[in-house]
Amino acid sequence: MAKITQSNFIKSNFIRASLLLFFSSFLALSAAQTEIRLSFDHFYDHAELTQALRNLEKAYPQFMTLKSIGRSFQGRDIWGVILNNPKTGPAENKPGYYIDGNIHGNEIQGTEVALYAIWWLLTNYGRNELATRLLDEKVFYIVPTVNPDSRDVYIHQVSDPNSPRSGLMPYDEDRDGLADEDGPDDLDGDGSITMMRKKVPLGTGTHRLHPDDSRILVRVKPGEKGDYLLLGEEGIDNDGDGQINEDGPGGYDLNRNFGFNWQPEYVQRGAGDFPFCFPETAALRDFILAHPNIAGAQSFHNYGGMILRGPGAKNMGEYLPADRQVYDFVGRNGEKILPGYRYIVVYKDMYTVYGGTIDFIYNVLGAFTFSNELDQDPLEAQRPRPTREEESPDIRAMLGQVGRLEEMEYHDLVLLGEHFTPWKPYKHPLFGEIEIGGIKKFGRRVPPTFKLAETCHRNAAFCFYHADQLPRLEISKAEIKKISSSLYQLDLSVVNSRVTPSMSAVAIQNKLHRPDEVRLEGKKVKVIAAGYLIDEFRGLTRPLKIIKNRLLIENGVPGFGRINLRLLIEAEGRIEVVYDSLKGGLKRKSLALD
């Protein structure tokens, strides 16, 4: 060991310090350039999602705020992400775009899409014109997973492609005084709930084996003899009441629990006892209502390849024509971004949904809301799917678990057998000798992991397109003309260069939120008269009511449109014209009167 003299000590510390300084500055530089590398070739459980979100927030604190907007039934944080560039204005003064995913526990891929959208915007700010513009001009409110409890069950525990759809609050579905006492059971231990079938004497069965593939059961036609029974989902009669799997975990539908056009259980199955009676939906409600500047929204589901708009049910009537035009514009362009996806209407082209998210956001906030059903059946993607009216009973019959040959080929040759359990014998306590097998939980509705990134990118791109089509206002003209010593004429034009109006028709008609307003600010400014300029050649105006230097613009600025105002004001020095729109954002223009 070298002797530590004073000069040595100082010298070595100096070297240490400068090395430290050098490395830390190097680290600082790289931190700014370090991309958070996220891969979209797998599904994120709640813990991994949480970590990814925290890493993103840590890397981009200037743009991203991560907050827990509530707790799920089992106590998991429901994450809300707010993306905004505060240097270009506070969030509440910008048009807001909302995204949520995974409200149905088994419909997991929406979370990856949301995560992808967050990641892409943050990592591309400053490098890509769209990312930069979106973060500068708009604010994003994103809830990647609404139902983290069921998400984790789906990923890590026993489940099937369709469940758990519900949340996990115990729910007495069979009304026997016990809740969740008889759910499905993974009898063969393959991690999925598959199907049970039983060979029976010829003539007593409802199905027969497909002649070319014994893994497929085909329903017998009238007159045909069957020798198989399809017994249903894997399980036993846990509570001895004569039924199997009639009361599994949960049993409600969070996407029927929203407060607009909510209907009770006997009209809408799964609706719950009353609107927002579940912690997850209550958390979403509070988050959405806290941000009334949300002008556009997306709620991800699976599956089928659709871009859905409401109304969810017929009884409240169709959306207003002016709003339908906005939906059509965005939806039809969306079909170009998502080939194979169809832009359709829920109640008309799909089925009736009471109390759904998209009706709530549209009718309570007045925001244009889509719901994408992510991913198509891979075989359907290759040929166009007939509409509901065109579908024959035969085709519909084939779409069930009783599969098709092509589906089996797809499972064998493309999915390499990963998501199908071959039928194997099992001794069932009630049914005796049966077979258990079928498509496993990741084998339908969620994309195979090799396709996940494409689902993410294309659907995020649709969101960016829609967000970019939110109102984009500009005070394009603010001209002053002196009339007399202190009286001026001010001509204002506010232009909207996007399809979404600054106030939707439903918001105007039903007074859902405060109207746009024009304010004049300045030390000695007073608005004497004001009106919409309806004939600039003749100088004719339609009067506007003035309330203490505020003008209420009750119909906002139309999509791809403008409003022209003419004011007579008394003022001195400088004035500031403010156009304040709840969903269109806040714009200012400063004018000197000399």
Partner: protein, 689 residues
């Protein structure tokens, strides 16, 4: 006209002054003691002390908080230590709710008294003891404390909303323009202003009242009406955006009215609504709800939907129609469809009810009272009407408020699915009108003795005075005084009458609020109406302030309030006793052969109400009765379901039977249980013979 009437008044008044000395002998003063309103603090402390002093009977549960963060409280009453008593959450329960509207003071008072009555009566009164031994009673006297609290502010104002700020005039500012008590009389009344655009005129028969001018009759409007206050935000409208504004009793999910600000942005948006709904959802054993509000749904069975009660004709989809042998283009009642199902044999022995058909056909939300529930409601209505009439508390049925869209009572019946009743307790009575034959004329008066005159009674004399156009402050009571003391005779009165000018045409319709004025004049000594008094308004100029006082229809004099509350508490207590129950009346085990038995279980409902309403079954919130046969290892079921569901049992001892055939050893034991959340559970054993 007016001047002549004025001179008559002067003559009459002059006469009184001369003979009597004091003009205003207030006969009505003693009856006019106002009905005392408990403060919020008094209500809370009353409930808490009732619970702390009777721990074995009462418990306070906090179910939530109002928007203004006031506690929402429910009192749970159940005799926990009664012999063979079940825990409170396993007994059939009754929920008594009051004052969701905030200002129905009678309801809060009545429900507080009911709590006291039950607790005090336990162990002494047979009815109270039985109720608390076998049932649980939840009492919630005040579910809208924010609105209630506004009554003790610096002025009285009828506001039935909670305290959530709402931008009612949609101008970007919230709650910026509320009322002001400009004349400092402690009331928010009305202002009338003469205005070229005015549309109101005074009623010719009753000038204190205003009504819309009818241009078709050549009438020209004079006045504009405002509530008392100023234009705080300078937008030209007065009091258009007062503090707070969601009506809790319009915020419930059945037939909710969208896009109306006072109902809330969506159903169950308010913490008060949520608290009550959560409580109901967590207490599935609630079998009957008794409500106090300004609605009287016993008297008025009108519903919010378009259909009349019991109207339920539907068209069957083609496929089902042909299966049942019915026409696809024809409308059938649910009853007819059930008949067709039964006779087609398709039900296969399963009991089909109308609610099942409605559910299956996807008929959507029910909006009319189920035809099968009507008889119960009509029976109760009949009893109630008779009782009201006997007690002298009745009032014109057209004034009974029915359920409104989004109200709690509508939710209780259509979605929660239990029998639910609401009473207003008291309503301003109809002034008695003299019949044609009995109209007092001067001739009749001349021949009357003073005794005969007085025996006509105040009401008739008041009606007579009104008919002759006497000024409003001139009441029967004062006349009687004078006649009794001999200062005036009927004959003299007749002479005065003959000198009076003819009254205005009787063919004009009476102003609909006349009965309120009559009530104010006769029972409240005129205190119910603030006479129009000039006032200088900062922006409107010369106005007059006046009108009915807030709370006129809600606050009877104390004596009447006592009587009305008493009657309704007894009525509700009687309904509580009639709640449905389940009993296993008998289990018959018949040996068909060695070790083979037929088991017949007879179930009955000794209560008066059926075990569920038809609407409750349709809404699937009133569950069927589960009858379970518990077999041990050595017993086998041959026929029948291990768990059999009975949709419902009617009241008054109707019996339903469940049959099983089993194989079991002689002498072995069998356990039968019957359960439904709103009935509780019963268990019986039998030894096989």
């Amino acid at each position: 006209m007016r001047r002549c009437r004025l001179s008559v008044a002067i003559i009459l008044l002059g006469g009184i002054i001369f003979f009597n000395g004091s003009i205003l002998s207030n006969q009505t003063e003693k009856k006019n003691q106002p009905f005392p309103i408990r403060s919020l603090e008094e209500i809370v402390s009353f409930l808490r002390s009732l619970a702390s002093q009777n721990e074995k009977l009462a418990r306070v549960i906090k179910i939530g908080e109002s928007y203004g963060q006031r506690d929402l409280i429910v009192l749970e009453l159940a005799a926990k230590e009664a012999p063979s008593a079940r825990p409170p959450e396993e007994r059939p329960a009754i929920l008594v709710t009051a004052n969701l509207e905030g200002l129905h003071f009678l309801g809060t008072e009545a429900s507080c008294r009911l709590a006291g009555k039950l607790v005090e009566g336990y162990g002494k009164d047979k009815v109270m003891t039985e109720i608390l031994n076998r049932r649980t009673v939840y009492i919630a006297p005040l579910l809208n404390p924010d609105a209630y609290a506004t009554w003790t502010g610096s002025f009285k104002w009828e506001r039935t909303a909670n305290s959530r700020p709402v931008d009612e005039d949609n101008d970007g500012q919230i709650d910026e323009d509320g009322p002001e008590d400009l004349n400092h009389d402690g009331f928010i009344t009305q202002m009338r202003v003469k205005d070229p655009e005015g549309t109101y005129i005074t009623d010719p028969r009753e000038p204190r009242l205003l009504r819309l001018a009818d241009p078709r009759k050549g009438e020209k409007g004079i006045y504009k009406i405002y509530t008392e206050g100023i234009d705080n935000d300078g937008d030209g409208a007065i009091n258009e955006d007062p503090p707070g504004s969601i009506e809790i009793n319009r915020n419930f999910p059945h037939d909710f009215e969208y896009f109306v600000k006072t109902c809330g942005p969506f159903p169950a948006s308010e913490p008060e609504t949520q608290a009550l709904l959560k409580f109901l959802a967590s207490r599935r054993h609630i079998a009957l709800i008794l409500n106090f509000s300004t609605e009287n749904t016993i008297l008025n069975l009108q519903q919010t939907g378009q259909a009349r009660a019991g109207a339920d004709r539907v068209r069957l989809p083609r496929m089902y129609a042909s299966m049942l042998g019915l026409e696809p283009d024809q409308e059938y009642t649910l009853k007819e469809i059930v008949e067709a199902l039964r006779s087609s044999g398709m039900a296969g022995g399963m009991e089909i009810t109308e609610e099942m058909v409605a559910s299956f056909l996807g008929l959507g939300a029910a909006v009319s009272i189920d035809r099968q529930d009507l008889p119960i409601l009509e029976a109760i209505q009949k009893e109630y009407k008779e009782g009201l009439n006997k007690a002298g508390l009745d009032y014109p049925e057209r004034r009974a408020r029915p359920v409104q869209k989004g109200s709690f009572v509508a939710y209780g019946y259509y979605q929660y699915g239990v029998p639910i009743f609401s009473v207003d307790i008291w309503n301003v009575p109809e002034p008695k009108k003299a019949g044609e034959k009995e109209t007092l004329t001067p001739d009749r008066l001349k021949s009357m003795t003073p005794e005969e005159f007085i025996s006509l009674g105040e009401d008739r004399i008041n009606a007579f005075l009104k008919a002759i156009g006497a000024p409003a402050s001139f009441q029967a009571a004062s006349l009687f005084e004078m006649v009794k003391s001999g200062k005036l005779t009927p004959a003299r009165l007749a002479e005065m009458m003959e000198k009076m000018p003819p009254r205005p045409a009787l063919s004009e319709e009476e102003h609909p609020e006349t009965y309120l004025l009559t009530w104010s004049d006769t029972a409240l000594g005129g205190q119910g109406f603030i006479n129009w008094t000039p006032f200088k308004h900062p922006t409107l100029g010369e106005v007059e302030i006046g009108g009915f006082i807030p709370g006129l229809k809600l606050l009877p004099p104390a004596g009447l309030a006592e009587k009305a509350i008493d009657f309704h508490l007894n009525f509700y207590l009687d309904l509580m006793r009639r709640v449905a129950e389940i009993e296993i009346q008998e289990i018959k085990a018949t040996a068909l052969s060695e070790g083979v038995y037929e088991i017949n279980v007879y179930l009955t409902n000794p209560g008066w109400f059926p075990t569920s309403t038809a609407q409750g079954r349709r809404a699937m919130t009133s569950w069927p009765i589960r009858v379970k046969l518990n077999l041990n290892r050595d017993q086998d079921l041959f026929s029948g379901q291990p768990v059999t569901l009975i949709p419902f049992i009617n009241g008054s001892g109707e019996v339903k039977k469940v049959t099983w055939t089993i194989r079991a050893k002689k002498g072995s034991r069998l356990k039968v249980e019957a359960f439904s959340p709103k009935l509780g559970k019963v268990v019986r054993f039998i030894i096989l013979p």
